[in-house]
Point group: C5
Chain length 88, copies 5
């Protein structure tokens, strides 16, 4: 997993029920010190994170499917937690 | 997932039925601001996207197989949605 | 998937039947415009590609296993097609 | 697998039992010579590693799930060993 | 797969039987021309490779598990062959 800062919401329609009631978030990956790495990911939000918040990203399909509780959901990247002030 | 801009079509023959009626698209990955990252992917089109359109790319085999509804399809990268103007 | 240019053959012995009658090819990844990206992959050839030819590379284990028709073959990267002149 | 140096602990809450009694560690990837690569990973600790220690990171979901003994745990990166002085 | 040059042995203890009688090798990835790419991997040795030898690395969990013949072994990167002088 890595940490990222939420920067916005993706507006699109995907033909899979898993996405119906969940937002897709633009998440800019950051270092443990909070600097942007230049890479980003679009992740499914399951913790109701908002813009500017620092979140924990899980980027593995099988793990993501376990967390949402749907063994066949077509997802890979997931916002799995909001980060409290880190202790690096 | 990431977003990308469709740049063209790949003309090739692959010996797997999943590819028979589907186009393979060259997709240039872009940042949330719309700038090219320099990386690209060839993805199977399931939403009838055209050149210049900005699309959502899922790059995970198991998720891609769920969306096309064939548990054993030999695919990994999929164009899963067309992006409306983003709200970064 | 990505496209690549075949640059040579790997001579090695691997203790798995899937490799017995198949060649391993050095494939230099290229951009849609045909420029080398600097990255390469060693892929199993299933389409009888030769040096200099531009090929389509699938780099996902489960998809590769479906194409060769052996559910447990220890392979990941596969040359799945020869590319006709691209239309970028 | 790669080696990394533990740099701190992530404080977050994730809704999956596998994380209840385990710490999440910031791990800076290093080369065999001990230099930072600039990349990092957040990994689940199963060997009680502490800050400054050099550890072995497994970054594959199925392997990680086998080591913790839970076939459906939503994890991918795991600290699987503490490294004794290396012999490069 | 990619090729790499063995540079040393990792000394660590991992709590999984698959590692009991097998060495973990530091392997520096190289190009087809033999130049170091700057990246490396720690791989399980199944062909008795030694320092300086050029080897073939498979870096996919399911394929690696097939080669060692243990469907649940927590491994991902494997030294699967020693490379004879290449023919690029």
């Amino acid at each position: 997993m890595k940490i990222a800062r939420v920067s916005g919401t993706v507006v699109s329609t995907i033909s899979a029920p898993i996405f119906d009631n969940r937002r897709l978030l633009f998440c800019d990956y950051i270092t443990p010190d909070g600097e942007a790495t230049g890479d980003y990911v679009i992740a499914v939000d399951v913790v109701d994170a908002g813009p500017g918040e620092i979140v924990l990203i899980m980027d593995e399909g099988n793990g993501a499917r376990q967390i949402v509780g749907e063994a066949t959901a077509p997802i890979r990247a997931l916002v799995v937690g909001i980060i409290d002030p880190v202790d690096p």
